[in-house]
Subunit: 412 residues, 2 copies
Amino acid sequence: MTDLRQQASDCKKASRKLAWLATGDKDRILLDLAAQLRARQRELLEANRLDCEAGSAAGLSSALLDRLALNAQRIEGMAQGCEQVARLTDPVGREIAWTRPNGLLIRKVRVPLGVLCIVYEARPNVTVESACLAIKSGNGALLRGSRTALNSNQALVKIIQECLVRAGLPAEAVAGVADLSHESITTLARMNGLVDLMIPRGGAELIQRVVETSTVPVLETGVGVCHLYVHPSADLEMAVPVILNSKCSRPAVCNSLETLLVDAAVAADLLTRLEPELRDKVRVQGCSRTLQQWPWAVPATAENWDTESMDLVLNVRVVENLDEALDHISQHSTGHTEAILTRDLESARRFQQEVDACAVNVNASTRFTDGGEFGFGAEIGISTQKMHARGPVGLDELTTYKYWVEGQGQIR
Amino acid sequence: MTDLRQQASDCKKASRKLAWLATGDKDRILLDLAAQLRARQRELLEANRLDCEAGSAAGLSSALLDRLALNAQRIEGMAQGCEQVARLTDPVGREIAWTRPNGLLIRKVRVPLGVLCIVYEARPNVTVESACLAIKSGNGALLRGSRTALNSNQALVKIIQECLVRAGLPAEAVAGVADLSHESITTLARMNGLVDLMIPRGGAELIQRVVETSTVPVLETGVGVCHLYVHPSADLEMAVPVILNSKCSRPAVCNSLETLLVDAAVAADLLTRLEPELRDKVRVQGCSRTLQQWPWAVPATAENWDTESMDLVLNVRVVENLDEALDHISQHSTGHTEAILTRDLESARRFQQEVDACAVNVNASTRFTDGGEFGFGAEIGISTQKMHARGPVGLDELTTYKYWVEGQGQIR
């Protein structure tokens, strides 16, 4: 634990060197990193092989083993990720300024947060992605990956640190947390003054644990129990592809659809259209009215409505009207993405105003809640909280601001 | 505790009615409130008299009794405060929007946070101020004042609720928390989903308690151990009034000066100029070098450097150079306001970049960190944190945003 504090303290100190580095210098580090990842593929695959073998021996599920595994294509993906971040606009130093009647110049200037602590699970590419976003936004990074990916993460952090050192920066600005005990997360989450932001990237359980114990601010990302409500006025021909895209295009991500709410007025027609697309492909967990039309579906349990399945599983509920849909959403939403299909302007407006979520979609797939799709470029996650950042968290959201007040001896 | 949850739940429900109220309707409520406060002065003074008498009998300090007391002038001040908030620009509904290549329209729209829970100490005017800012920003408010001001706060909340009801809104949108037990603060601070933001307004101890126990986001305001460093290049003639203004113009507020750091190169000269202004007026707690020149000062204890005195008390330390000043500030700053007096551009720039505080002043009094002085109008406090809001917290900072994504059946 003392070592952990030392690592955080070293990272904080090193982060000050990163804070005001010129954009060009930061971009050169990222491009160097991209080149190094490509050049040292063999070293990375070797380290990753150790993790995969250990994981296999420990009986990890094939899904987890797949997330853990690196290959040439995934390493190329990481390298391209670095290049992409290098192309993004640097938020640090951007300012708005105004002069007060007494002559004071007030400058509101974007600055880095300080040290980001990212806690994540198996995927080694999160190591590179998080480091790139931290470096470009001028922040230090404490990377607390999982034990499963230990060798892969160590190899990646070593390469990142070499790039920093080559650029004349302290290696400690991006550090792999050495203490991988369960308690280390709580310890980090209470290091006010050293850690400026906790970013848990993973399942609901991990995020909840960090929120519960943290005194450092937490960026809650990711958990998405997303709903789509089909209003009586909806274009049902449009509805079918939008529903299928929302649910099936990538079910293991947070912006995929979990619960379809169908207005009773169009339920028979819509379910008839959807049946050939869903039956035998998707596990449908339905309300009693859904089951009347789709006897092949299984009855939904109370828990289902609050669960992010990450799989080809869809909850379906027939609702009486927009009010019942809004009630259902307000009870079960995780504040991620909620959608309505409608041709009625008044219903669309009411849905947009009343639903309390980071993204509220009208006549569009839930899958669009994404930094790239919004035009922001790379992101560190989708914030489901309201403070600081909501929705895709990119470089801007990894900064704060301060006021530079400049005078000539003004007093009050 | 069940009652508390019910109050919060009622407030949350009522807040939805406030959320999209037209600006004109909100302003009419505030102007009505101003008129009512003036018209019902006698009722307010009567309630306040009960609190003052009880406080006096309980042996409250004269400073606390003064903060508690209402009079005609203070009630007029509250009424004018309401009118001032009515004149401020409404942030709700402000948006930026862009269209993506696939035709999706993405609208980033300012919306209220939901329910603010304000925890505060003796001053009854905080009740009105907080309610006005909540109403204008479209938020519900749970007001948890102190037992000392119970009668005054109840009388004020009653008037506020009557104004809401006259405007056709539910009274519960602004509620005085009935449970004034110590535990009620912790209970409120863990009501995720009902309370959206905790705003402790008070001393360091109150704020720390809320931060420690809260799972709801907290807006940390107020504690200011502010420093002013006099660089060798400073205009010493300018320095004297700026230092006096920073320390003496209102010592009991958070942006007043606590610690003067004097560069050794100008210490003898500056202390000579300051002596007649400070001696017999201000208690000086000095380092050993300060005491050599000012034997009338008292030796500073380790604790002094970290204490917000709220009084005519000034810590003075002679430092070797800018580095030592920056080190001192990084160790003892509470992230509020830090100032440098200098004519050297390079030193000013380094100070601005390296000091991690909400306001970093060059050649200006520390007292300018204030919503009014920045040109923002009324504020609910000065945030000393980095996330969400830093510096003066006005209407804008009491809102969040959501994305309205509007399409014609787009899929990904």
